[in-house]
Subunit: 335 residues, 2 copies
């Protein structure tokens, strides 16, 4: 029989946030633990289990969890493992689904990466309700993506589809990216990318800018945003540059899956017209004419940022199928 | 009750080829008419109908057709229409499915564009049998694509997904493309693109080449191929250039849908190692590291080129649902 709640877990580089979510997408209660406190993965799982049990007891939700959905960097839907995570200390292959389901007595678990979880959250509870074809772009420290085609998340043959932060937007002489290659979208259109653009512009150009009052190595995308809002021309140009590259890249994404909408999520997405005006200009200008008849919408996520990660992960909990089953031990037959 | 054959129709700019296909992908018989002979669309449909009926009678296949699948440039799966076809004279919106189903007494009809049809053919009868995630790239006069995700063709929200010939591979100063934009993959990696590269290389470079014996405006990709096979260095460099651009673009496609394989089809795909060596080098070098664990295969189509278009279109015939139904005319009630 199906139960009334799911558990959503978002494993971030700093915090692991978990919440009890109902079928309407209400986060009933949530809590968190420090992700990096335990160098041993089993200790981490124990602490997560204790924290969740405490939350369930406090909310009278024990035995009411249908499934557990987890969003984690490099989380693989097919294998239930985290593979080669850049910021987690528990080894190159982390058997996440197995350990979590075991700790929780066999509750079904499903995992995917954080951007895919965000797309599922948007489809289940947010701006993409009712959409069968859309692309979610998360603009944070990096650029992530989750792609939905025919109402299904695109996992690809190996579970790693949807790495649109790593399409190449600058083929020659592009910026070095964290993935080890050069010219990736993420190196330009993430919060980090905006800060890098600021440093480049400040070095190359000579005009005055309030950004010059800051230590150049400490400039953040927030600093650029604040300067642009205050009218700083160079800061505005940084957003023009960022939005133009993102809009051009998004036009290429449309040539792939012709989505009804592209949904933007994350801190940078909330830069308003500073980002959206150049982005939409470049997008419409770069779009193949055939797609202009039913132009894909560019919209912002409708999920509250504080809840979104947990909500997105929880959406996966409803369809979780993997259950840990204890090895069968042979018992003497009872006569 | 299901019937033993489908009809596959491939509407090309010169010929319309049609064939009777059985469930194992055997083309039992085929014939063709000239596509452009009839300036009036109804006349074209009548001639197609007559040609097909003749073929069916000659093969004792009347009343044995389960459905009709049609591949046509800009054919739209959802609307059953051809929209703004570049090379057909019958207007901007051609109600193809309706007219064909009507002419054939209500047999179900489905249409899509030619590259999508090729992908379906490959999945049903060719190199992609058993694959749930793959990308088909057709390298002909242009560059087309058909994308399969989760075992389903990707049509997108409007039926026009899969235009990978028009992703931008050269963002600044790119070649003009037939679509009206600049820098598209098609402008470099089609047969036409290879001929354009030849003209550029011959103008810019000074070394000897047997290609200089030809009228520069008449050089074709076949000329370049022949020269390269004969050892001409400049001609080989043209294939290096073409393969490198295609391999880089294909690595970006993997970041989208992480396919098990990318299947190449069309004349240029048969250039052997001249194209495949630089293509695979660039592809592997450009691939995001996470995809190298289960590297997507690059393979050639297994369909005979003469049959492929009809086979691909026919594959759509098995799932065709649209039927023309005559308007109901009110008859006096029989007492």
């Amino acid at each position: 029989m199906s139960k009334p709640y799911v558990l959503g877990v978002d494993i971030g580089g700093t915090n692991t946030v978990f919440g009890i979510v109902d079928a309407r997408g209400q986060v009933m209660a949530s809590d968190s633990i420090k992700t990096l406190k335990n160098a041993n993965f089993d200790d981490y799982i124990n602490e997560l289990h204790e924290g969740v049990e405490r939350l369930l007891r406090a909310n009278d939700a024990e035995d009411k969890i249908q499934g557990i959905g987890i969003g984690a960097p490099n989380g693989n839907y097919y294998t239930g493992e985290i593979l080669n995570p850049p910021n987690l200390p528990w080894g190159p292959v982390i058997p996440l689904a197995e350990k979590v389901s075991k700790a929780f007595g066999g509750i079904p678990v499903a995992i995917t990466n954080d951007a895919n979880a965000a797309a599922l959250g948007e489809m289940t509870y947010g701006a993409a309700r009712g959409m069968k074809d859309f692309i979610m772009i998360t603009l944070g420290t990096g650029v992530g993506s989750g792609i939905v085609v025919n109402g299904q998340l695109v996992y690809g043959h190996d579970g790693f589809a949807g790495e649109l932060g790593h399409v190449v937007v600058k083929r020659n002489n592009g910026r070095i990216c964290g993935c080890g290659r050069t010219g990736c979208l993420e190196a330009y259109c993430s919060a980090t990318g905006v800060a890098r653009t600021a440093r480049e512009f400040l070095e190359i150009r000579t005009e005055p800018s309030t950004l010059r009052d800051l230590q150049i190595e400490d400039i953040t995308s927030k600093d650029v945003y604040d300067a642009a809002v205050a009218g700083d021309k160079l800061a505005k140009d940084i957003f023009d540059y960022t939005g133009t590259i993102l809009g051009q890249a998004m036009a290429d994404m449309v040539a792939f899956s012709s989505p009804q909408a592209i949904i933007l999520f994350g801190g940078l997405a909330k830069s308003g017209e500073l980002l959206m005006r150049p982005l939409k200009n470049a997008f419409e200008k770069s779009l193949l004419p055939i797609f202009k008849q039913r132009m894909p919408k560019i919209i912002l996520s409708e999920l509250k940022e504080s809840d979104a990660a947990v909500l997105g992960a929880s959406a996966l909990g409803w369809e979780a199928k993997y259950r840990y089953e204890a090895p069968i031990s042979i018992q003497p037959a009872e006569a």
